[in-house]
Symmetry: C2
Subunit: 268 residues, 2 copies
């Protein structure tokens, strides 16, 4: 059991932020990562398709004998977590509950904003997760479809990023100007953290904290597998699979925080 790897998947490479957080929290663990880059994005697609693809991703990881499945993709977590849990013999951790937990911990006013893909927002999964943790919290949500292509284009802090962030966040703060915490409910959004926090702060007239799921997911992984796994001192391995390699060398390091040492192609 201790020698089995942890499996992490995402619709693309954004989930490498979760890999990074898990390696920091559990440096001795082996990790198998799958990015479904051939079918990315999930966030604009129906729950039916997202669940179908997420099931295939999980089956791939289970085929690699992982002891834990982590769904780094917010969209897949928001729409398919119960189905994936039902289909797995090992624990499955999604991105939504940890993200909600971080937001509730960070918020003083309990007025929380959530931004994410169309599918994540449509699912109302964050509202439900936050309500379960803090029934008195008020949650306001907004889908921000252009944030992922902006982040992939590398236009993360310029006049266009500012204008796009302003248009989306205005819709959010018009509905609740007292929001003090914003959930970055998509693995790409942390690349836009600076512009999002700056524009949100201007619209709120007070600092707004942007939280994401990565570190809270890593904490949940520690709770699940414990910290004793792996040989003491020996660094765990990282094995990456992707379904398409286009722009991988360019995009992966932005999320992993270091160059990718290698990968294999998988046809799902």
């Amino acid at each position: 059991m201790a020698r089995q790897p942890i499996g992490i998947f995402d619709s693309g490479v954004g989930g490498l932020t979760v890999v990074r957080a898990v390696r920091a929290a559990l440096p001795g663990e082996d990790i198998v990562y799958l990015g479904d880059t051939a079918r990315v994005p999930y966030g604009s697609k129906s729950a039916r398709t997202v669940e179908r693809y997420a099931r295939a991703c999980q089956a791939f990881l289970l085929g690699h004998h992982v002891k834990l499945v982590m769904i780094a993709c917010n969209t897949a977590s928001a729409t398919a977590l119960p189905a994936l849990q039902a289909a797995s013999d090992v624990p499955v951790i999604g991105a939504v509950e940890p993200g909600a937990r971080s937001a509730v911990a960070a918020s003083r006013s309990k007025r929380i904003g959530v931004i994410g893909t169309l599918s994540t927002i449509r699912s109302t999964a964050y509202e439900r997760a936050i309500a379960a943790l803090a029934p008195d919290a008020a949650v306001t949500t907004e889908a921000c479809p252009l944030f992922v292509p902006l982040a992939e284009e590398g236009w993360t802090d310029d006049d266009i990023a500012d204008a796009v962030a302003r248009r989306y966040l205005q819709r959010l703060f018009e509905r609740d100007r007292a929001i003090d915490t914003l959930v970055l409910g998509c693995t790409h959004y942390p690349l836009l953290r600076d512009v999002i926090e700056r524009v949100a702060g201007e619209l709120a007239g007070a600092p707004v904290a942007a939280v994401d799921s990565a570190s809270a997911m890593a904490a949940a992984a520690v709770d699940t597998v414990g910290t004793s796994a792996g040989d003491a001192g020996a660094a765990g391995s990282l094995h990456c699979y992707v379904t398409d390699a286009s722009r991988l060398d360019e995009l992966a390091p932005r999320f992993l925080g270091e160059p990718l040492s290698g990968f294999d192609l998988a046809d799902l």
Copy 2:
């Protein structure tokens, strides 16, 4: 033969512009359309993945006994046309050669700009197609990854669309200010035609004509199947398949020019 439908596929719903042009040119023909909306977009992915998915789309259409395959997707045409022609017993028409033909016909200066997805631009297919038609033409290209999400968001003629178009087109006109014709090398780009033509005209200091593949593809279809097919006077049918139905009711009419009368889901 005359009673067999024409098959048209695209990575998404943008190819409905080709359906519209074919119906106008050949109103008696039956059409089977496939939009691979579950795996859209193709334009950011590798040639390997695009060819794999395009083969599956074509096989689906051939299974519906089409007499002609039309690849409405510029990315699939640019990367997979030879492979699809080799795998088909019926004629296969791509989007690139017709688009190149339109551009050469429209350009006086023979200084032609081409904009498209990353994969289309990377393929150099338009340069090769234009060179085959007009060896003296000078072709300048630029990938515009944000145009598709902008068009899908419906932000087609505002300050953000203007700023994005200006950034991409500046890169193009900096390299050749004498461009008089611009190929819209992606089925989504005609939705941004107004802003593209306006910004291009400002950068060139003279009117720039934006051409696309749809009507030239329809003309190629007429050349291939003739105009006699179908019962005289009887309108042909349109049968649409998609691999994902998300936002279909909202997006499809923008390209087809009328509401979609119905569709079926296909799992590729």
